[in-house]
């Protein structure tokens, strides 16, 4: 008897829940119907909802990207929604994407936690007419329209090569301290540097003695730096295009007051105490991308997708507000999809490191 009553109650509750739901359905669909008409009338971003999904809450790098995204969206008059998933997993991002579809946003820009796992959810979103793009870390080609890539391979290779040239004084021995020998991004950057060195006589007097692998472990990176120092007494510069490697090498060089100088890609917060022009500091300057600009680029891509300026196909161009490299061109990403490259990496030197070390 009790169970029967309970089940009746349960059914009633379900029915009520459904009814409550149905009430709103018509309204939602008419809203949808009105939307395209409104957007045709004026191409502006006013009244449009632009969502950014980060990797997780409390990720300072992502939060800077979100800041840039928000600035740019507000500058063009759109409504900005920043969503942090409850954990740094694709699973949590799926819930967030589904929720955004329900809200009827106009675009979703996402820093993916997994290349492939978001495909079902993002396909749902695109089927619902939402413009999907990625920034920071991409999804597979089928789940996005385009991607705001912070790190163009050739741009990074060129910046690092110029830094080595500059710090070494145009000639001498230098070495690379990388992460693991299989890391795709590391190898792409190293290959780009080698290419530039071989094809431009400007760098002819530079001699790359070794590519060492510290496996992105602080201890191993330290050992590898020591080994480089003892093996090559004439070494002038070490270039470490990895945040773990550069921090480990910076400490070794600075502790030993070595004459060898360092550059590469590093986190300002970790590298602040090593950056300086004098002999007491081991790293004159280094690079990384500017997360605020990554966010802004993501925002302008979303806006251009929503107002129909671009569809995400290679070769299309769009204006990105007051960003330095605007207008940007969409290029082939080599994975079957397309991307937009932010530009040269951002330089951290003694003049700006104090400001950035608290950022990320």
């Amino acid at each position: 008897m009790k169970k029967k009553v309970l089940s009746v109650l349960l059914c009633a509750a379900m029915a009520a829940g459904m009814l409550a739901g149905c009430g709103g359905d018509d309204k939602a669909s008419t809203d949808d119907a009105n939307k395209p008409a409104a957007s045709d009338a004026d191409g502006s971003a006013a009244g449009k909802k632009f969502a950014l999904v980060t990797k997780s809450a409390g990720n300072p790098y992502n939060e800077k990207e979100a800041e840039g995204f928000q600035q740019a969206i507000e500058s063009i008059g759109g409504e900005c929604i920043i969503k942090h998933p409850e954990s740094a997993t694709a699973d949590a991002q799926v819930s967030v994407i589904q929720s955004l579809i329900s809200q009827g946003v106009d675009s979703i820009c996402i820093a993916a936690n997994d290349e492939n796992a978001l495909q079902a959810a993002l396909e749902d979103a695109m089927a619902a007419g939402i413009k999907v793009s990625c920034l920071d870390s991409k999804t597979n080609a089928a789940s996005r329209m385009t991607f705001a890539n912070q790190a163009g391979t050739t741009e990074i290779g060129q910046a690092l090569m110029d830094a080595v040239y500059d710090i070494a004084g145009g000639e001498g021995d230098w070495a690379i301290l990388s992460a693991t020998s299989q890391a795709t991004n590391q190898n792409a950057w190293i290959d780009a540097m080698k290419d530039i060195m071989e094809n431009d006589s400007k760098y002819a007097n530079l001699n790359l003695v070794e590519v060492a692998y510290g496996d992105d472990e602080p201890v191993k990176s330290t050992d590898q730096t020591q080994a480089l120092l003892s093996k090559y007494p004439n070494l002038k510069v070490i270039c470490a295009p990895t945040t773990v490697g550069i921090a480990a090498a910076a400490k070794v060089l600075q502790d030993q007051s070595s004459a060898v100088k360092l550059t590469g890609l590093g986190l300002p917060s970790e590298m602040a105490e090593y950056i300086g022009d004098d002999d007491a500091h081991s790293c004159p300057y280094m690079f990384l991308w500017n997360p605020i600009d990554v966010g802004r680029l993501g925002a302008y891509i979303s806006a251009a997708l929503v107002d129909g300026t671009i569809t995400g196909a290679a070769g299309e161009t769009f204006e990105a507000g007051d960003m330095p490299n605007s207008p940007y061109t969409i290029v082939d990403a080599g994975d079957g999809g397309t991307e937009v490259i932010l530009g040269a990496p951002f330089k951290f030197d003694p003049t700006n490191i104090e400001e950035w070390k608290t950022v990320y």
Binding site: M1, K2, K3, V5, L6, S7, L9, L10, A12, A13, A16, G17, M18, A20, G21, C22, G23, G24, D25, K27, A28, A57, I81, K83, H84, P85, E86, S87, A88, T89, A90, D91, A92, V94, S95, V96, Q98, S99, I101, S102, Q103, G104, D114, E115, N116, A117, Q119, A120, A121, D124, N140, Q182
Partner: protein
């Protein structure tokens, strides 16, 4: 009615309307209604179509609730289910990528889950002095470790042949298949727990394992069956999870065990064993899902949502104790 366990142990028969509405489950139903009205008020997008579309991802966790409730009724706990989900999902993806027909993929996945469950069950039955919390903590690490080895250095695998997974993610009208499957399996588990000898023995063992043993209940057999069931349902959850993620990685299923335990406890099933009814767990699962969807739609910070759910859980555990205390006062 004596011997049948509810949230509150009460000698008087409770088969009257008033009592039912005032029971824990009645309260949950009312809470469910209130939550739905609340969500409808705060979010204009809280419509049936949207809720049903967002639901499948959450629904897969409910599969874990049913056997978890049985385990809690036994006075045991299983914190390895998240890892079982991870391992089963990994096997499902790899088997599917190897070109194996989808029905066999399903069988393999469920077999993987069943083996994980049997390992737990076997250890607990062979060494009854070991606490299940510690044993399943061990297997939690082991199962995820195996999954990580299979996944290799990338830590992630994607389904290349998604046809089968797309098929099970299908819908009848606005209702996804998983919705019906959850309700059907929920009904079966509820009926087993209240109408069968097996169900009674769950409560008996949870109340007093030794007495149950002396009264002829095959305690070890029941335990083994329940833990195996847990593994099987973890695999079913993994299949549906894969149908929305098209892949598995080392974080798949993280924290699912705690979500399932939370749903059960919220529903009035005591972790000390022998108490509670599964229907409460099922209703509370829907309460939690609806609340998450509703609050998610107004873009509330997910950490705040977690805090709200945590606070609700503590209230849920606290309330029966407080009301029991009040009743005692009234009587005396």
């Amino acid at each position: 009615m004596a011997g049948k366990s509810g949230r509150t142990i009460d000698a008087t028969p409770k088969d009257v309307w008033k009592k039912n509405i005032l029971s824990w489950e009645g309260m949950l139903v009312i809470l469910f209604l209130l939550i739905n009205i609340f969500c409808r008020c705060i979010s204009p997008n809280y419509t049936m179509a949207n809720v049903l579309r967002e639901m499948p991802k959450y629904l897969s966790e409910i599969f874990l609730l049913f056997p978890m409730a049985y385990i809690l009724m036994l006075g045991e706990i299983d914190i390895s289910v998240g890892s079982t989900v991870c391992l089963s999902a990994t096997i499902a993806c790899i088997a599917s990528n190897a070109g194996i027909p989808f029905p066999i993929v399903i069988v393999l996945t469920i077999l993987t889950g069943a083996i994980c469950g049997m390992v737990n069950g076997f250890i607990l039955v062979k060494f009854p002095e070991l606490p299940s919390m510690i044993v399943t903590l061990g297997t939690q690490i082991v199962f995820r470790g195996i999954a990580e080895i299979i996944l290799g250095s990338g830590g992630s695998v994607s389904v290349t042949n998604t046809a089968g997974f797309r098929a099970i993610a299908g819908k009848i009208g606005p209702f996804p298949y998983i919705f019906f499957l959850v309700l059907i399996s929920g009904a079966v588990f509820i009926v087993i727990s209240i109408k069968t000898i097996f169900g009674r023995s769950l409560y008996a063992i949870g109340s007093n394992s030794r007495t149950s043993f002396y009264s002829g209940i095959k305690v070890k057999k029941v335990k083994f069956i329940v833990f195996t069931l847990m593994g099987i349902f973890a695999a079913i959850a993994a299949l549906f999870l894969t149908s929305s993620l098209y892949g598995a990685n080392t974080t798949t299923g993280n924290g699912f065990e705690m979500d399932a335990i939370a749903m059960a406890v919220f529903g009035g099933i005591a972790t000390t064993g022998g108490k509670g009814r599964l229907i409460g767990g099922l209703i509370s699962a829907f309460i939690i899902i609806c609340l998450r969807i509703g609050l998610g739609q107004i873009n509330m910070n997910p950490q705040v949502i977690l805090i709200i759910l945590g606070a609700l859980l503590i209230c849920a555990v606290l309330l029966p104790n407080v009301s029991a205390g009040l009743k005692l006062k009234k009587k005396s």
